[in-house]
């Protein structure tokens, strides 16, 4: 069967991985042309690390980077949470794929609509 591989990673699995392992897993898969769906989103720090790592992998004509989309984080953070520096809850679905194969069509607070194409 021809097609595009899609890996759906559970939050249990994600919880067991370190940040470095998560980012490596994501980039290795995406470079192979896979679409990754994470049950639980990355932390903001992991997101910036992923952007950095992606930039080092971009090679004109070969790899153009990633498309990544998640829902925005929790809206509600009380001032008490802020004082305690409680991290914002990021437990939301994230989809990641090669920039030349995954196109976001429409997103809003609750729905992500994407198109996947073969290489």
């Amino acid at each position: 069967m021809k097609g595009i591989q899609m890996d759906l990673i559970s939050s249990d699995k994600l919880e067991r991985l370190s940040s470095v392992e998560k980012i490596r897993m994501i980039l290795d898969s995406v470079e192979d042309g896979k679409i990754i769906v994470l049950e639980r989103g990355l932390t903001p720090q992991e997101e910036t690390k992923l952007i950095e790592a992606t930039m080092t992998k971009i090679t004109p004509g070969e790899f153009a980077g990633i498309e990544i989309e998640s829902y925005p984080g929790a809206v509600h953070q009380s001032w008490f949470d802020k004082l305690r520096k409680k991290p914002v809850d990021r437990a939301r679905l994230t989809v990641i794929g090669p920039a030349d194969q995954l196109k976001m069509l429409k997103r809003d607070r609750d729905v992500i609509s994407a198109m996947v194409s073969a290489r």
């Binding site: 720090q45 153009a64 980077g65 990544i68 925005p72 001032w79 914002v88 920039a99 997103r107």
Partner: protein
Amino acid sequence: MGIIKKIRKNLSSAFNKIFKRGKLHRIGIYGPPNAGKTTLANRIVRDFTGDVVGSVSDIPHETRRAHRREGVTIESNGSSITLDIVDTPGLATKIDFQDFMAKGLSEDESRRRAKEATEGVIEAVRWLEDLEGVILVMDATEDPFTQVNVTVIGNMEARNLPLLIVANKIDLDDSMPSRIKSAFPQHPMVPISALTGDNIDVMYDKIAEHFG
């Protein structure tokens, strides 16, 4: 502003001043490529010091190195605040050299620009850790739900640092600043045109209010 909100704000800003702020007030101008960050940085710096920060272009990734302008004193409503303004390269998760060719650059130039753009993004991301606040510039004609916006906002929230969202390009007919407000309702937002200067004074008030 309600009295409770005011007390909270004063408390948390007093808290910030005592425990971590010190004298540094470095504010980064962030956003996706082409949002108008350099146009805005130039306007701020021109309004208060008479200089410019960097070059502006309709080709994305014009800024590929961060530029810091030290000690810009912004005055609004009788109060004033002195900030270091850092204009950063546009953040992106993808950079395709063919997009530059489509803008009329040669293949060699496009490849070089793509390479420099990736370095620029890394520089912008690294600057995030050395800032005390962020002005996040969005093009109000574009979809605000992008990973870049979510990531910048998430980082500032995680570190409990002030963030001001600027909905830029409201001079354009298809701009929808209200969409930005509803996308990120938990943060202050000000609609402006960095190009024409529309509503810029309101932005200065907000800067003094949130970064002071």
